[in-house]
Amino acid sequence: MVEVLARDILLIVYMLWLITTGALVFFMQAGFAFLEGGQVRSKNSTHVYMKMCTNIGIGTLVWWLWGYAIFSGNWNYCLLGVQDPASVDWLNTFGHWYTMWGFCIVSCAIASGSISERFSFSGYIIYVILYCGFMYPFFGWLAWSAGPLLQWGYIDYAGSVVVHFHGGLTALLAAMIVGPRLGKYSKLKKCGWLFEFGAGECKTYPGHNVAQMMLGVFILCVCFYGFNVGSVLIGSLCEPSTEATARRMIEILAADLPTTTLNTTMCMAGGVFGAMFGGWLINGKSDPLSTGNGAIAGLVAICSGVAFVHPGFAYILGVACGAIIPLVVKSLDKIGIDDAVGTCGVHCTAGAIGGLATGVMGLIRNTYHGVTSSMGVQTLGFIICIGYTAICAIILFGGFKAVGLARVTEGEETTGLDLAEHKTPTYPEFVIR
């Protein structure tokens, strides 16, 4: 009886914790809104907030209607909460629905950044429906819920790959399909019907507000504690909770909570340091946009192995992911891919490195608190993710292009999406250059 009571208390504690961390994960929408909004020109800034609102307004509906059912592989979970309360393990299922909802709309927000300042609002609405309704949930099922990847022992604790690399690669492909912003390059180069690269001289379009961008960075940083540490309970307690004894729950928590928090902290710090250092190395000055993005890159990279790697490794991992940001930016500029707010350097590369680094750590330390990581499986998962994402992203954004939803008109792009799509300027009073 004591055992049962203890377990029930722990489940309540777990639910309260999930609500807290889930609220933080939800608040990442604000982080993305300002991270992206500050990095675009002010004529496109409100449009960014509207896109995040779409994630909330429509992404949530889709997730509730059928997205979560696909994700969890259980059709009874469509329209969660409309069924008879008695039929669901309410506490667990709901907690899972809620946190995974936050993760889903985070992943959905990523691609918004790379195609910013030119992608149409109606296109974005359909993207949200398809991404939150199919593309994300299915891969989540594959890697996390009951899919083969999970069974092979693939580790992606808090989603470096499932959430970030998946979103980041979508972002990269979307930018390639949608094509560069007007005037960004002096020439355009088509690669078949689908892809459109810039060529010739490449202009820089500075965004409008570093303060706002930094607000986004700080919000994302604090929310990542919810993202990473909030994943402790989900992975370990949620599904097997009926068998879990109180003692077992305590053990898992006592092992994972300190590890994840420490690693999150260290990798974030490493990312900041790496980006400061990388910027200084390349340009002779540490620049704020690389640095701020470096913090996010570190946090993205650590998701995968956050309960497995050790803190020193985490810091170094962060340094690596932060330091390459200016390089990624330069490379994309050179290739002719216009990633408007530097999404790829943050989610795509750092997500990939983080996913593989867990395998590397597995070479150093085979087992930790009962978890084993294998380089092979990590690589396999990575490759599967590339394949899956590429196919889906090409179908999605290729489709948008085919039906003419990919871009606003040139006139609208010149005017700016705030006025063209929403008739509301972001700063009605301020004089802007």
């Binding site: 008739k423 009605p428 802007i432 250059r433």
Partner: protein, 113 residues
């Protein structure tokens, strides 16, 4: 004789104008944010679900001071580059400057331009 060319143009045209002028070797320019109101009707904006008309539109004013000889070519270049053909393209005004001084050197007159 020194003249001042004052052109009010669409903000998005500034780069084209500047690029073309560079070919001519103009001495410099000063750009000001202005808001304009002419035959153009203004645009409709929405604030909290309510439409309203904004009558002043954002324009750029370019000021270039040059010697008499260059005026015509510069004006033509601006007209060519800043034109879209629709209402709101702006205007150019040319006026007399009595004297010009370069602060750095104290030079006066034509050579100061």
């Amino acid at each position: 004789m020194v003249k001042k060319i004052e052109a009010i143009i669409r903000p998005e045209k500034i780069n084209f104008v500047k690029a073309s002028l560079e070919g001519l070797g103009y001495p410099g320019m000063t750009v000001t944010e202005v808001k304009g109101h002419g035959s153009q009707k203004g645009i409709t904006e929405i604030w909290r679900g309510r439409c309203f008309k904004v009558e002043f539109l954002q324009k750029l004013k370019i000021e270039i001071v040059v010697t008499d000889a260059d005026v015509k070519e510069i004006v033509q270049t601006i007209v060519r580059e800043a034109r879209t053909g629709s209402i709101g393209d702006g205007k150019i005004f040319v006026s007399n400057v009595e004297n010009a001084v370069r602060i750095r050197t104290g030079e006066q007159g034509d050579s100061a331009v």
